[in-house]
């Protein structure tokens, strides 16, 4: 697999069809794989890797890479593809500059050096591409809780947040040039949280900011150093949106004849 991938993109480089390749690069310990940009077949030969530790979704790097010009080859796993399409649709990247190579995936893992074992990434445990787990099972488990249990569940999870913003920075739907949470003048920057409720609010606000645009790639949960299952918030919203608007109607496909939410799901206070 890996060798085939190297051969394919090496040929693209040699033919001048692309001038660089977005892929994954091997680390010092086997499991510490990083996304990387390759410029020559030699670099690919020496450093390119594709294995179970290549969980990182490369799509978002295209936002920066496309600005540099030229043509790029990029590898996309099945769950990375929607992120790519979203970025094209939102005009954050240019499809013309990208040569997409789809690669199969049988689940991505991270290594736990303490337990000395691999852990399947949480998103893969409910991957749409695997048949064992229905997409919304994890969400349904949470919905089945009482409100008090649910509150306690999220308080427990979110209380561990260190506000590193890795979730936001990895998210392909979060591509604002300057995030409102980074703007000290916005009044919500929250570099210092006065209380833990602010942390919770950050995640809820972020979930709503990406509602309808979240592509369910699960990067937010994968990158979280505190192992917070963030994408469950997003999956809940995806589920509600699908119920209300149907499978493919995302909030970015906006037109004037769209119904009001209250027309679709009832309730609301309409004049």
């Amino acid at each position: 697999m890996q060798n085939e991938m190297i051969a394919n993109v090496s040929a693209l480089l040699a033919d001048g069809k692309v001038d660089r390749v977005l892929g994954w690069k091997r680390g010092e310990l086997g499991w510490d794989v990083s996304p990387a940009v390759f410029h020559t077949p030699r670099e690919l030969q020496q450093e390119f890797v594709y294995d179970r530790y290549c969980g990182a979704n490369l799509s978002k790097y295209l936002v920066a890479e496309c600005r540099k010009g030229g043509r790029l080859a990029i590898f996309l796993k099945p769950c990375d593809r929607p992120a790519f399409e979203l970025l094209v649709k939102e005009h954050r990247i240019s499809r013309e500059m990208c040569h997409v190579l789809e690669v199969p995936c049988s689940g991505s893992y991270s290594y736990d050096p303490e337990a000395e074992e691999d852990r399947l990434d949480i998103r893969c445990a409910a991957c749409e591409h695997a048949d064992a787990h229905p997409l919304h099972k994890q969400v349904e488990d949470i919905e089945a809780m009482t409100p008090a249990e649910r509150f306690a569940f999220w308080q427990g999870e979110l209380s561990r947040c260190i506000r590193c913003n890795a979730c936001r920075n990895a998210c392909p739907a979060c591509t604002c040039e300057s995030c409102v949470f980074d703007n000290p003048a916005s009044g919500v920057a929250q570099k210092a949280a006065t209380n833990s409720f602010e942390e919770n609010l950050f995640h809820i606000i972020r979930a709503f900011h990406v509602a309808g645009r979240c592509v369910d790639c699960g990067e937010c949960s994968r990158v979280c150093p505190q192992h917070i299952p963030l994408h469950l918030l997003n999956r809940k919203l995806i589920k509600e949106l699908r119920n209300a608007y149907g499978e493919d109607a995302s909030l970015t496909a906006f037109c004037e004849t769209d119904p009001e939410p209250s027309d679709v799901i009832g309730g609301g206070n309409r004049a």
């Binding site: 990083s34 990387a36 337990a115 260190i162 590193c164 890795a166 570099k191 210092a192 150093p225």
Partner: protein, 338 residues
């Protein structure tokens, strides 16, 4: 040197916690964090904590003071509370060393009184690493995992815990539990060499530090490698938050409606709003911010501290960076001989 049998350890912990809060590494839900002792916990004697112990002296967010306005008067309210004594038990050798690095910043004049108070009230009991992790490289930075610093050093050997006071404060503290421990011979711990052998056989133990140092600014600053090293960096700052030696902070004012609440919080050189001045952040690209982090550890800090490096090889940036960019990769890449 004192010793006690492991079966009596809960008694010792209970006695300690009765006098002052005791925090130790507790495993729960697959994570290890310093947690208040309460008996019946799964105490982690091997590996290290997910977050470092710096939080106890330099918390992520703390209130510095409040200002209250009444009419034309502004009143400054000192919100500091008298700190209580506490014990950190089981701090690993790398993390103990990190306190020296934090001290060199916060206790050098002008002394940071918030930090200093907590340091004075904290007793640090370190624990030698008889089972280091594959991500540890303390030895590359000259730290002896078999003989840690701290007010009191501890060793686990067989079914015995050995305790040795390193400082006067540690001696006083340890003496308070003399009824629970027995005297022991200084050379009782069988095999310090065994620990040292294990540590030096770790995959990253041979990282070359000799090529770095305070006089290497010109050698590394403009290397093209920074581009490929940093291209995947998300600028999330996770590496700096989990790093036991990262010491940067920001001071933020919150308007409360009738006054100001002034907080201090961790900051990170990986952030776009770090050291923001009138013209913005002097480091305009993530490449420059990434370079700052590693140059600080390997060049700038040693330049100001007699060659001591700003990294203790705890391996947290290695474990926690979402994209697996870490100091060992940086050192291998920059230090390569081609």
């Amino acid at each position: 040197m004192r010793k006690l049998s492991l079966v009596s350890l809960p008694l010792l912990f209970a006695a300690i916690d009765e006098r002052m809060p005791l925090y130790l590494p507790v495993r729960s839900d697959g994570r290890v964090e310093f947690t208040r002792w309460m008996g019946g916990q799964d105490i982690a004697f091997t590996g290290n904590t997910d977050r470092s112990a710096k939080d106890f002296f330099f918390p992520q967010s703390e209130e510095l003071m409040r200002l209250r306005r009444e009419g034309k008067r502004v009143e400054v309210l000192d919100t500091r509370r008298e700190a209580e004594d506490f014990v950190l038990f089981g701090v690993r050798p790398c993390d103990v060393k990190s306190f020296d690095i934090l001290d060199s910043v916060f206790l050098a004049g002008p002394v940071d009184s918030y930090y200093a108070t907590r340091r004075e009230h904290g007793v640090v009991v370190s624990l030698a690493c008889h089972l280091p992790s594959s991500t540890c490289f303390c030895s590359a930075f000259g730290i002896d995992a078999a003989d840690p610093a701290g007010d009191v050093a501890a060793w686990l050997a067989g079914d015995t815990l050995y305790l040795r006071a390193n400082t006067e404060k540690g001696e006083r503290w340890l003496a308070a539990y003399d009824t629970l421990t027995e005297p022991s011979d200084e050379n009782a711990i069988a095999d310090l060499q065994q620990i040292r052998d294990k540590v030096s056989a770790l995959p990253l133990a041979k990282l070359n530090t000799a090529v770095f140092g305070g006089d290497k600014l010109a050698t590394f600053f403009d290397l093209p490698d920074w581009e490929s090293l940093s291209v995947a960096c998300l600028g999330c700052g996770t590496c700096t938050f989990v790093c036991p030696t990262c010491q940067c902070y920001d001071i933020v004012d919150f308007y409360t409606g009738h006054g100001i609440q002034r907080l201090r919080c961790w900051d990170s050189c990986m952030y776009s709003d770090f050291t923001k001045m009138a013209h913005g952040n002097p480091r305009t690209t993530q490449r420059e911010r990434f370079r700052q982090r590693f140059m600080h550890k390997l060049v700038y800090y040693p330049a100001e501290h007699e060659g001591v490096f700003g990294c203790v090889g705890c391996g947290r940036c290695l474990r926690k960076c979402p994209q697996a960019l870490h100091i060992a990769k940086v050192m291998r890449t920059l230090g390569k001989e081609d």
